[in-house]
C-alpha cells in the first residue's frame, strides 16, 4: 500500500502531502453543536474510512466537505491553499465530489449512459451548442473502459441496475478530474459480487491518485479495503490512523466510547405465551429469512444499522408490503396479509417510520387522527357520534400526555414528539395483541423520547407484545427484553437482555461473526 512510505516521513512533510485538510471545524444547528473542532486529513491515492454511530457527526462533516453546509469556525485547505466553498457546485469546481446512496438522484434516467457520463459537458455554460452524439459516445466509452466497466453506452440509464448506475455516476465524476470523492454507504444497496466490482473501481481510482472517503457501517469492508480510518463520536474525532493499527473490536470500542450511560425507564412486565411468530420471512435482496418470536408482555428490540432491512420487515408485518416467502403466525394461526387492514384485524398494529407521510394525516385534527382506526366504534348507524369521538380523543390525549391546545387542532401544529404520540395514540383502544414500532424516536426531542419509552413500557405491562425496530443501538439495548441484531437482511444474533452489551450488539450489527468473538 502506498501509505507506508508517507507514514514514515516526518509530521510536517506528511501534512504537506494532504490533498485536503480540515482543521478545527465546528458547526452548530440552532445552538446544538454537531461538530466540535474536528481535524480531518486526506491524502491522495488513499481510501479513508469514516466511522461513527448515528449522530456522531460524520455526515455533517462530509456535507461541509461537499459544500452542502457551511462551517462555523475552522479552516479547510485544498492542496495547501485555504478554500471556503459555499455550495455543492463550488465544491465540484474544486474537484470535490460526493456519491450519495441514492445514485438515481444524480442521473437522468431517460438519457443514455453516454449522455449521463457527459452530462456536465452538456450543462456547462461555455459548452458548445451542437453536440456530436458519436464523439460523445466515444468519449464516454473510453472513460468507462478505463474503469474496466462494461456497460453499452447507448443503453438508457433507467434500465440499469443500481450497481451499474453507480458506475455511470463514477465515470461522470472521473471525467471531471475529481481530487476527492466521498462515498456515503456505497455498498449498502449492492449484492456481494456487485460490491466486489465497486471495490475494484475504488482501487482503480486510488491508483489515479484520487482521495476517497468511505462512509460505511460494514466493518469487514473497512478492514479489507481502507488504508486509513477515522472514528467520530459525539461531534469529535476520537481516532485517526492506519487501518491495521486497530482490530475490529477496538474500532467498535472507539465508536461507542466509555462515557455512555443513558437512562431508560425499564418496567418489568410479566412475560406470557407466544403471540407473534415469524419464520423465514424474506423479500428481494433486503430481507433474507428472518425468524422472530414475540411473547405477550415482551419487548423484542430488532436492532440493525441503516440498510439492514429493518423497515422492510416492519412493513411486511404491518401488511403494507407482501413478503416473497416465509410465514407469519398470530397465536399459532398462519396469517396472510393482503393489506394493512388484514394485519390490524389479526391484531398487529404499527407505528410506521415516516411519521408525516405514513403515521398521521398532517392536515387533519388530533381528534380525527386518533379516531381513524376506530370509526366503527364511534359511529351509530354509520353516523359518527361527535361526543364519542371527543371522548375517545380526550382519553387518549390525557393518558399519553399529548401537548395540544385542543383536540380540534390540526396535527401539523404539534411538535414532532406530540405528533408521534398521536400516531401511537390511535392504537391505544384498538385492543391489539402486538404493537410494531419502526424508529419511533426519529426526530423527537429528549422529553418526548422518554415519554414514548414509558408508553411502550406500559403497553408491555398491559400484556401486549411489542416489536421495536431501531437503528439506535442504545435504544434497543435500553428497551428490549430480547435484542435481535439484524445484519444484511438476516438475524445475526438474538441476545437476552442480561447478556447483551453495546459492544456485542454493534459487533454483530457490523457483520461480526459468533466464532470470532
Amino acid at each position: 500500500m502506498g501509505t507506508s512510505a508517507t507514514s514514515a516521513t516526518s509530521a510536517t512533510k506528511a501534512e504537506q502531502q494532504y490533498v485536503l485538510e480540515m482543521k478545527g471545524i465546528t458547526k452548530s444547528f440552532a445552538g446544538v453543536p454537531a461538530l466540535r473542532g474536528v481535524d480531518f486529513g486526506l491524502k491522495g491515492g488513499e481510501v479513508h474510512a469514516l466511522l461513527g454511530a448515528n449522530g456522531a457527526g460524520k455526515s455533517t462533516l462530509m456535507k461541509i466537505l461537499a459544500g452542502a453546509y457551511e462551517y462555523d469556525e475552522g479552516e479547510m485547505l485544498l492542496d495547501g491553499r485555504p478554500v471556503k466553498h459555499k455550495s455543492p457546485a463550488d465544491a465540484k469546481r474544486l474537484g470535490i465530489h460526493c456519491v450519495y446512496q441514492e445514485v438515481d438522484a444524480s442521473l437522468v434516467p431517460q438519457l443514455t449512459v453516454a449522455e449521463n457520463v457527459m452530462l456536465d459537458a452538456i450543462g456547462a455554460a461555455d459548452g458548445k451548442a451542437w453536440i456530436s452524439p458519436r464523439r460523445q459516445a466515444q468519449e464516454a466509452g473510453q472513460i468507462l473502459a478505463s474503469l474496466q466497466v462494461d456497460i453499452p453506452v447507448q443503453r438508457k440509464v433507467a434500465d440499469l441496475t443500481i450497481a451499474e448506475k453507480q458506475m455511470v455516476l463514477l465515470a461522470r465524476i472521473v471525467r471531471q478530474e475529481a481530487k476527492v470523492i466521498i462515498f456515503d454507504e456505497p455498498t449498502a444497496p449492492l449484492s456481494g459480487s456487485e460490491a466486489d466490482t465497486f471495490f475494484r473501481i475504488l482501487s482503480e481510482l486510488k491508483q489515479r491518485g484520487t482521495a476517497c472517503v468511505f462512509i460505511t457501517h460494514r466493518l469487514p469492508e473497512v478492514m479489507e479495503h481502507a488504508d486509513d480510518v477515522t472514528v467520530m463520536r459525539d461531534g469529535t474525532k476520537v481516532h485517526s490512523g492506519p487501518v491495521d493499527a486497530l482490530s475490529m473490536e477496538e474500532l467498535v470500542a472507539q465508536m461507542l466510547g466509555k462515557t455512555f450511560a443513558e437512562e431508560f425507564p425499564k418496567v418489568a412486565a410479566e412475560i406470557g405465551e407466544v403471540v407473534l411468530n415469524v419464520k423465514g420471512l424474506c423479500q428481494g435482496r433486503k430481507v433474507k429469512g428472518v425468524d422472530l418470536t414475540v411473547r405477550s408482555g415482551q419487548i423484542v428490540a430488532v436492532v440493525g444499522l441503516v440498510g439492514a432491512g429493518k423497515t422492510e420487515i416492519a412493513r411486511m408485518l404491518a401488511g403494507a408490503e407482501r413478503p416473497d416467502g416465509g410465514e407469519i403466525y398470530m397465536r399459532g394461526h398462519s396469517m396472510l396479509f393482503k393489506q394493512p387492514a388484514d394485519a390490524i384485524a389479526s391484531g398487529i398494529v404499527s407505528v410506521p417510520e415516516e411519521r408525516r407521510k405514513q403515521g398521521i394525516v398532517i392536515e387533519e385534527t388530533v381528534e380525527r387522527n386518533i379516531s381513524l382506526p376506530l370509526l366503527n366504534r364511534i359511529s351509530r348507524f354509520s353516523f359518527i357520534s361527535g361526543s364519542r369521538e371527543r371522548g375517545l380523543a380526550e382519553r387518549t390525549i390525557a393518558s399519553l400526555g399529548i401537548k395540544t391546545a385542543s383536540a380540534k387542532l390540526p396535527v401539523k401544529y404539534l411538535s414532532g414528539g406530540n405528533q408521534q404520540k398521536v400516531a401511537i395514540g390511535k392504537w391505544l383502544e384498538k385492543e391489539a395483541d402486538v404493537l410494531l414500532f419502526d424508529e419511533p424516536t426519529k426526530g423527537v426531542d429528549i422529553g418526548a423520547k422518554s415519554d414514548i419509552f414509558r408508553i411502550i413500557g406500559q403497553l408491555a405491562t398491559a400484556g401486549k407484545g411489542v416489536l421495536y425496530l431501531t437503528s439506535e443501538l442504545d435504544e434497543g439495548l435500553g428497551i428490549g427484553d430480547v435484542i435481535a441484531v439484524l445484519y444484511d437482511g438476516s438475524i445475526a444474533a438474538v441476545l437476552p437482555r442480561s447478556e447483551a452489551t453495546l459492544e456485542k450488539i454493534l459487533y454483530f450489527a457490523s457483520g461480526g461473526r459468533e466464532e470470532n468473538l
Binding site: 394493512p340 387492514a341 394525516v361 387533519e364 381513524l372 382506526p373 370509526l375 359511529s379
Partner: protein, 328 residues
C-alpha cells in the same frame, strides 16, 4: 396583519363575490331579483351541479374524474333511446342509465387502481371512449319523438310524460329538478361530513398511505368515489334528457369544465381548502347567476365562456395561493 387579511379573504372572499354579483345584477336589472328568475337560475344549474357533485367526490379522494361530461352525454342518449326506440317502462329508463354511470365509474377505478394509470389520464381516456360510444350508439343523430330513420321508417316511441316531469315539472311552484338538487346536496353533504364513509373518503384523499396503514381499505374507498361520480353524472344525464325532451349527442361535453369550475370555486368557500358539497353548490350558483345576468344584459352568448373562465381563475388563485402559502 397581512396574514389575517389573506385568511379573511380566503374564508369570505368567494361568498362576498357571489353576493356582490347578485347585488350588482339586482340593481341593474329590475327583473333579476324575483322569485321566478331565482328559481330559473337554480333550475338552470341543477344539471351541472349534479355533475359537479361527482367531480367533488372524485377530488375528495385526491383523484379527478374528467369523464363525467361524456357520461352525461351517454346517459342522455341512452335514456331517450330506451323510450323512443324501445318503449321501455319508466323504471328501466331511469335505472339502466344509472347503472351505466356506475359502470363507467367502475372502469375508471379499474384503470386507476389496478392498472395504476394516473387519475387524470385514465379518466381522460375514458372521456374519449365514452364520448365515442354515445355518438356511435346514436349513429350521430339526435333522438327525438317518432324520429325518422335513414331508411324512411319512423321510431314508434315518444318521451315518457312522467319522465319529462323530472326536468320540466313543478311541485308547489318549485321545479322538480330544484327539489332533487337541494335534496341531494343535503344528503351528500351529510354523507361526507357526518358519516364514517365520508370521513374515510377525506382521509384517503388527505394521506392515502397513512389511511391505508390505519386499516382503511383505500382501494374500495377510491372505487366507491369513482362509481358515485359516475352515478351523479348519470343523474345529470337523465335530467338533461328530460329537460330538453330529446336525446342530443354530446350534450354533456360543455358541462365538464363548468362542473370543474364550480368544484374549485367551492374549495375557497368558507375557507374549506378542500372539495366540499356546500362550496360546490355555491360555485355552481355563482356560475348560474353570471350566465343568467349576462344573458339578461344582452352580453353575447360566446362571451360567457370568457367570464366563466375568469371566475375560475380568480377562485383558483385565491385557493392555491392561500393553501400553498400556509404550507410548512
Amino acid at each position: 396583519m397581512k396574514d389575517r387579511l389573506m385568511n379573511v379573504t380566503f374564508r369570505y372572499g368567494t361568498i362576498t363575490v357571489v353576493l356582490a354579483v347578485i347585488a350588482f345584477f339586482s340593481i341593474r336589472l329590475p327583473y333579476f331579483f324575483t322569485y321566478s328568475n331565482l328559481s330559473d337560475i337554480l333550475n338552470s344549474i341543477a344539471i351541472v351541479t349534479f355533475v359537479a357533485i361527482g367531480v367533488t367526490l372524485s377530488l375528495a379522494v385526491d383523484g379527478f374524474d374528467l369523464s363525467v361530461g361524456s357520461t352525461v352525454s351517454l346517459t342522455t342518449v341512452v335514456s331517450a333511446s330506451l323510450m323512443i326506440w324501445y318503449q321501455m317502462p319508466l323504471y328501466v329508463v331511469i335505472i339502466f342509465p344509472l347503472l351505466l354511470g356506475a359502470l363507467v365509474g367502475l372502469l375508471n377505478a379499474f384503470l386507476i387502481i389496478k392498472m395504476r394509470i394516473p387519475d387524470l389520464l385514465a379518466t381522460l381516456a375514458m372521456m374519449y371512449i365514452v364520448a365515442g360510444i354515445q355518438k356511435t350508439y346514436a349513429q350521430g343523430y339526435t333522438i327525438y319523438n317518432n324520429m325518422q330513420f335513414p331508411d324512411g321508417s319512423k321510431a314508434a316511441g315518444k318521451m315518457d310524460k312522467t319522465f319529462l316531469l323530472l326536468g320540466q315539472g313543478e311541485l308547489l311552484g318549485v321545479p322538480v329538478s330544484v327539489i332533487l338538487l337541494i335534496f341531494f346536496v343535503i344528503v351528500v353533504h351529510l354523507f361526507l361530513t357526518r358519516t364514517k364513509y365520508g370521513r374515510q373518503i377525506y382521509i384517503t384523499g388527505g394521506n392515502e398511505e397513512a389511511a391505508r396503514l390505519s386499516g382503511i381499505k383505500v382501494k374500495k374507498v377510491r372505487m366507491f368515489a369513482y362509481m358515485a361520480s359516475g352515478v351523479f353524472a348519470a343523474i345529470g344525464g337523465l335530467l338533461f334528457a328530460s329537460r330538453v325532451g330529446s336525446g342530443q349527442i354530446d350534450a354533456g361535453a360543455p358541462l365538464l369544465m363548468e362542473a370543474v369550475a364550480a368544484t374549485f370555486v367551492g374549495f375557497s368557500v368558507f375557507g374549506a381548502g378542500k372539495p366540499n358539497i356546500i362550496g360546490t353548490f355555491i360555485g355552481s350558483v355563482l356560475i348560474g347567476v353570471l350566465v343568467n345576468g349576462l344573458t339578461m344584459m344582452n352580453v353575447q352568448y360566446f362571451a360567457h365562456d370568457i367570464v366563466k373562465g375568469s371566475v375560475l381563475v380568480l377562485a383558483l388563485s385565491i385557493t392555491f395561493y392561500v393553501l400553498n402559502r400556509s404550507k410548512t
